[in-house]
């Protein structure tokens, strides 16, 4: 339960189109396979990049994983999420 597990999840999603598709199909179920606490699971499942960044996850990975799921059109949504106070 840590930013390390969040990073592992986002790296897995970001480097494998098949994993990204699994995430898209069922985000909550996908989050269950990693060592995450309830808050971290919710953050991953909703792709709350602002919260994951606050928890210490690398923004390189957050951007990569988010874009793998959302595609190029998701950049605006990413910036909104990462800029959230």
């Amino acid at each position: 339960m840590s930013s390390n597990a969040l990073e592992k999840a986002m790296w897995t999603i970001g480097t494998s189109p098949a994993e990204a598709e699994k995430f898209r199909q069922s985000p909550a179920a996908y989050a269950e396979q990693f060592h995450l606490d309830a808050g971290e699971k919710a953050s991953l499942a909703t792709l709350d990049v602002g919260d994951m960044a606050k928890r210490g996850a690398s923004t390189l990975l957050l951007l990569m994983g988010f874009m793998a799921v959302k595609g190029p059109a998701g950049m605006g949504e990413y910036m909104q999420g990462i800029s959230k106070k």
Partner: protein
């Protein structure tokens, strides 16, 4: 012995190949002119081998393993990203010289990681595409420093690795003519709320230090100072420091600079020459 004939510092911004058109045409043209200048200088220097120092961006290495310094001593291909607008395929390495750099480093206390079959990410693939690919005589030795994932390699260590690479080149019995690339930077914020910001004043300060051959002042900058002023992407100055270590005493000439918020990066180009 092999001869180190020159060095160059340049960005490896993936937008330069993937989506150059999102930037104003003048900035695109000036940036590509800088790459063409490097291509021409490499031909003038009659180089046959290029050592490209870059950093991975969590594209090829993951949270399970992040090497501090890694050299490709075998097959090389790439890029791993399919969206770079760069043909994916084999890239000619110089495995013998790469192995010699590794072995010499081992003798000198450099704990290289190594790859026998390495797929590049944009950190090396973009400079290769824009400054090397057009010259079929060039073979490429890829070196990855961890300049992106904190805790990153220390600046002094990056410089020491460069010095070891230089000694390896000088002790290689072949007649190769080698150039070195330090890639990345300058200011950019990757994935943060400030993404798109470029700190031109910081970039110009770095370029002045390079022009003066003042690597000592760059090495003295803390990672926190670099991140605050140049963003997390500016840690890639460690790749520049390593290349300056390869060069040793040097003089430098700025080739070009463009602040390109559309590419989320300040793009600086410098030629390094032996002093």
């Amino acid at each position: 012995m092999a001869t180190l004939v020159g060095g160059f510092l340049m960005p490896h911004d993936p937008f330069m190949s993937a989506a150059p058109h999102i930037a104003p045409k003048e900035k695109v043209d000036n940036t590509m002119a800088s790459f063409h200048r490097i291509e021409a200088r490499i031909r003038e220097l009659a180089a046959d081998t290029v050592i490209i120092i870059g950093d991975d961006h969590y594209c090829i290495f993951g949270p399970h393993c992040i090497p501090r310094c890694l050299i490709g001593i075998g097959d090389v291909d790439g890029p791993v990203e399919d969206w770079l607008n760069i043909p994916q395929g084999p890239i000619a390495n110089h495995p013998e010289l790469a192995r010699h750099i590794l072995e010499r480093g081992y003798d000198e206390g450099i704990d290289w990681s190594f790859a026998k079959a390495l797929t590049l990410d944009h950190g090396i693939a973009v400079p290769h595409h824009l400054a090397v690919r057009s010259n079929p005589k060039l073979r490429t030795i890829p070196i990855y420093l961890n300049a992106a994932v904190v805790p990153a390699i220390r600046n002094q260590r990056a410089y020491a690795i460069g010095q070891s690479i230089r000694r390896a080149i000088e002790s290689w019995p072949g007649s190769e003519r080698v150039v070195v690339f330090g890639t990345g930077g300058i200011s950019h914020w990757v994935g943060t709320a400030e993404m798109g910001r470029v700190n031109e004043a910081f970039d110009q300060r770095i370029l002045r230090m390079v022009e003066e051959g003042d690597v000592t002042s760059i090495i003295a900058m803390t990672d926190q100072e670099i991140i605050e002023q140049g963003g997390n992407g500016a840690l890639e100055l460690k790749n520049w420091i390593c290349a300056m270590g390869v060069m040793g005493a040097l003089k430098a000439e700025t080739i070009g600079y463009e602040a390109v918020p559309e590419w989320i990066c300040g793009c600086g180009f410098t030629e390094l020459k032996a002093a």
